[in-house]
């Protein structure tokens, strides 16, 4: 355990230093992360305005709180691994990672967290600006805000493990773009990025509850906004832990099978 902590510390130092060289590029990639929730915020505010003041319990200030929170939660949990893994396998750079006496997922976690540390000031600035423009209604409930901290941590872990496992599809096919797109689209609707889940049709909501999407994005946000009862929060943590266990098992199984059939140039 201590060995792993040391490795993480060292890895952080080098990754942060190298990512800081690309801060402008990383900042440009963030534009989409800010713009997407902003677009839906504007659209739903217009819907609320066209209906007098509110839609299904959401007024314009509630939408503002929801989508600004969505921007931050999504930023905290997103990964780009599904778009990168195919390149690693096709170009054989995975071979080097396999030679190290450390599971490659650890460097990916460090990369992910480092890039977020670098972009955090920009995201907070964007959130502050949007809050000033759209005047969100924020009614935090103390226990729920406290519960938000472990919820977002679990959400990050589950989303990371699941997307890392799905990225391994590249071991079997190099045409992963269709898989990535299908997953991305499902996530868009089922994790509440297009609209709060409460506004989606019942069947869609049911699917979102069974699949991991709600638990990796929407659930922490619902907690933060004080929209859950203590019972619902507990059930949510249960779902998160269940998905955590399941994704750990899946990751192990798929990784082993994938590495066995991996044959890179020179391997």
């Amino acid at each position: 355990m201590k060995g792993l902590v040391d490795i993480y510390r060292q890895q952080f130092k080098t990754t942060l230093a190298s990512f800081l060289q690309y801060r402008a590029a990383i900042a440009i990639w963030m534009i989409g992360h800010i713009l997407e929730p902003l677009i839906f915020l504007v659209v739903w505010s217009a819907v609320a305005a066209s209906r007098g003041s509110e839609v299904g319990g959401f007024g314009a200030p509630d939408f503002a709180a929801y989508f600004i929170g969505m921007m931050l939660v999504n930023h905290a949990t997103y990964t780009w691994i599904m778009y990168e893994f195919e390149y690693r396998i096709r170009h054989g750079s995975l071979s080097f990672a396999l030679l190290r006496p450390l599971h490659p997922i650890h460097t990916d976690i460090v990369d992910n967290v480092s890039s977020k540390l670098i972009t955090l000031p920009m995201m907070l600035l964007a959130a502050g600006f949007l809050a000033a423009v759209f005047k969100p209604a924020f009614h935090p409930v103390l226990w729920a805000v406290a519960a938000f901290v472990p919820a977002i941590f679990l959400a990050f872990l589950v989303r990371f493990l699941i997307e890392w496992t799905l990225a391994l599809a590249a071991f079997w096919t190099t045409r992963v773009s269709a898989i990535n797109q299908a997953y991305h689209v499902a996530a868009l609707f089922l994790s509440g990025q297009v609209a709060p889940l409460a506004l989606l049709p019942g069947p869609v909501r049911a699917v979102a509850t069974v699949l991991p999407f709600r638990w990796t994005i929407s659930f922490p946000l619902e907690l933060l906004l004080g929209r859950l009862t203590p019972g619902q929060a507990l059930a949510g943590f249960g779902a998160q832990l269940a998905w955590l266990a399941l994704s750990l098992v899946l990751l192990r199984v798929v990784w082993r099978a994938g590495v066995r059939i991996y044959s890179a140039v020179g391997a």
Binding site: I31, L35, E36, W44, A46, S50, L199
Partner: protein, 261 residues
């Protein structure tokens, strides 16, 4: 005439090389259909709660999405792949080969690569557009059709000039691939009428990254809300940007020192 023939040759070469990878067509078709499905599902959710969005009726927004796919398809078909290859050529010094050819280099650079399967977006976008027009039920007058054609061409020219100017920056800064991402991110906002957005964002989408002229304005022409002022503005901006991007291009080429020179 000559340039049309050249474009035809480039198109044929792309088709021939892509025909070897026919599975890519189905992959691209799948992705385009999913994209379209997402757009329609998003509209369905929004319009299940209202029947007008900032003054736009559902079918009018549908037509806007059609234009969005049509223009986006054109960008992904020629402009984006060509500009990406152009930027690579500048940083690797292989632009020499293009510059020494006896045709206009800007033209060659702009059409050098055609991602033929992206035609699916173009076709689907056109289909959606026609579908929306039929549903609107309004008789499309000659004047409206002409307004649509003019604003669509103007929007295309504006977007092309914008891309060319961004890509030409590579003569000065070499690595500009990431700047192109700005347009790709901002273009997403064109799915919805820009009049919805707060003033600062509307301004950015109109003049800083000209998404509005490529999507909202042509859609406005179809639904009969195009004003003479907007039409004139789109035409003027298109002409202006064509000239300015040409000047920027020439200044850039003068700066280029090549791999062997």
């Amino acid at each position: 005439m000559n340039s049309l023939r050249l474009f035809w040759v480039f198109l044929r070469v792309s088709v021939l090389s892509e025909l070897a990878y026919r599975a890519n067509f189905f992959l691209q078709l799948f992705e385009s259909l999913v994209d379209l499905g997402v757009a329609l599902a998003g509209l369905a959710v929004v319009f299940s709660y209202t029947d007008t969005l900032g003054g736009w009726r559902p079918d009018e927004v549908l037509a806007l999405v059609g234009v969005f796919f049509l223009v986006g398809g054109a960008i992904h078909l020629v402009i984006e792949p060509s500009m990406q290859r152009f930027i690579e050529a500048v940083s690797e010094g292989t632009l020499d080969f293009t510059l020494t050819k006896p045709a206009d280099a800007q033209f060659l650079v702009s059409i050098q690569r055609v991602e033929i399967w992206k035609l699916t977006d173009l076709v689907l976008g056109t289909g959606l557009l026609v579908f929306a027009l039929v549903r609107m039920g309004t008789h499309l007058g000659a004047l409206q059709a002409a307004g649509f054609a003019v604003t669509l061409v103007a929007g295309g020219i504006i977007v092309y000039s914008f891309w060319l100017m961004l890509a030409t920056l590579s003569f000065w800064f070499v690595r500009v691939e990431n700047i192109l991402v700005i347009f790709q991110s901002m273009y997403e906002a064109g799915r919805w009428p820009v009049s919805l957005y707060p003033r600062w964002l509307r301004f950015s989408l109109t003049f800083l990254v000209p998404v509005a002229f490529a999507t909202t304005v042509p859609a406005q022409a179809l639904s009969g809300r195009l004003t003479g002022r907007t039409l004139l503005g789109a035409g003027t901006l298109a002409a202006l940007m064509l000239v300015v991007s040409r000047l920027v291009w020439r200044a850039g080429v003068r700066r280029y020192s090549g791999a062997s020179a």
